[in-house]
Symmetry: C2
Subunit: 211 residues, 2 copies
């Protein structure tokens, strides 16, 4: 396997994995790059190129084995094990995240929930036990976790991220509207609806400007 | 301006715009690709290459004019005008989106809120007027909008997206965990925490496998 796979390719692999899991559940045995491309709105050439980074799964003219490709992606993406997650921030957004039912079936367990606002701490609303961020560092020393989800306001986000990184967390899912500063060995993904909207208005604007 | 700019470059422009807006607000007049790269965690070469798609903003050895580059990005991204948005889905996540204060300052106005669940409709919780999805098509005929935000469960998402597309909405921000099927002239951005997490576990898994 080559050592350096482009980040944009890695970010597409979960999308492939999701589609393939569904095909496998439906009992589909073989799928072509044309079919995958059609379902995902990308070209078959793109599919073939992306998957070629990980070896030769398909046979010319015969398509991909759904089972083999799904298993390989599961393994590559680290989805054969469970991952421990802490959530920091239990405002509206944090509560929506805490109650999201999509994490657990995919192997992500929220093992702790924290907030910087003492009023929210220990409130026990929605059956969530909320601890103070002041306890976060100590808690993570006793029970390390893999991933931190940050759903605090932008003004507090970098401080929370610093605590997580300092406690050895090397993957941060950041919902706060800031460009997080982290060491090179820490992965960050930003979930930011405004950035997503602005990527679309570029296209809307161009179209509006054309006759 | 070249006609085809890679989509990954377009998706980075809002990030550049955000940082430059902040620099401008702080009174910074000139910024180098090194400084931009450092702040965003990418190489200066990447910054220069991305911005080169849109013309020559920088002068060799003198850096970029913050004001000029900010204005150009504002124009390119279509942020000199306001955009009308409808939100469909007012569960926990939808309510968090409806009350998010980051949209309005960036030019995005949520002009209507809808839900498929009649029990939620018209409940008026959080001072949001919620209308039935059954009224969506008619409402959009009377008052067209630019963008639809979809925050309904996965099982209902494609039907909602079909209604939006049919009513002429050409940009969809999709929070539902499905690969939306839309015509080629419709832009879709997916906000999906599980996909983001799985992009990171790829890296965590690889590191764990290395001695």
């Amino acid at each position: 396997m080559p050592l350096e796979i482009p980040e944009v390719v890695i970010d597409r692999l979960p999308v492939y994995y999701r589609l393939l899991s569904r095909l496998q559940a439906d009992g589909t045995a073989v799928v072509s790059s044309q079919e995958l491309g059609l379902a995902l709105g990308v070209t078959p050439a793109q599919i073939r190129k992306d998957l070629s980074y990980f070896g030769r799964f398909g046979k010319q003219g015969r398509g991909y084995s759904v089972q083999r490709l799904t298993e390989e992606l599961r393994s590559l993406l680290g989805l054969k094990r469970r991952w421990k997650v802490v959530l920091v921030g239990v405002g509206r957004l944090g509560r929506a995240i805490a109650s999201y039912r999509g994490f657990e079936p995919q192997g992500f367990d929220i093992v702790g929930t924290y907030d910087v606002n003492p009023e929210a701490v220990g409130s026990g609303a929605d059956d969530i036990e909320v601890r103070s961020v002041a306890d976060l560092q100590r808690d993570l020393t006793v029970g390390p976790v893999d991933i931190g989800i940050v759903a605090v306001p932008g003004t507090e986000a970098q401080a929370v991220i610093d605590v997580l990184v300092c406690a050895g967390v090397t993957a941060i899912l950041n919902y706060a509207p800031i460009a997080a500063q982290v060491p090179a060995n820490v992965e960050v993904r930003q979930i930011d609806p405004v950035l997503a909207l602005q990527g679309m208005t570029y296209h809307l604007n161009r179209r509006a400007g054309q006759p």
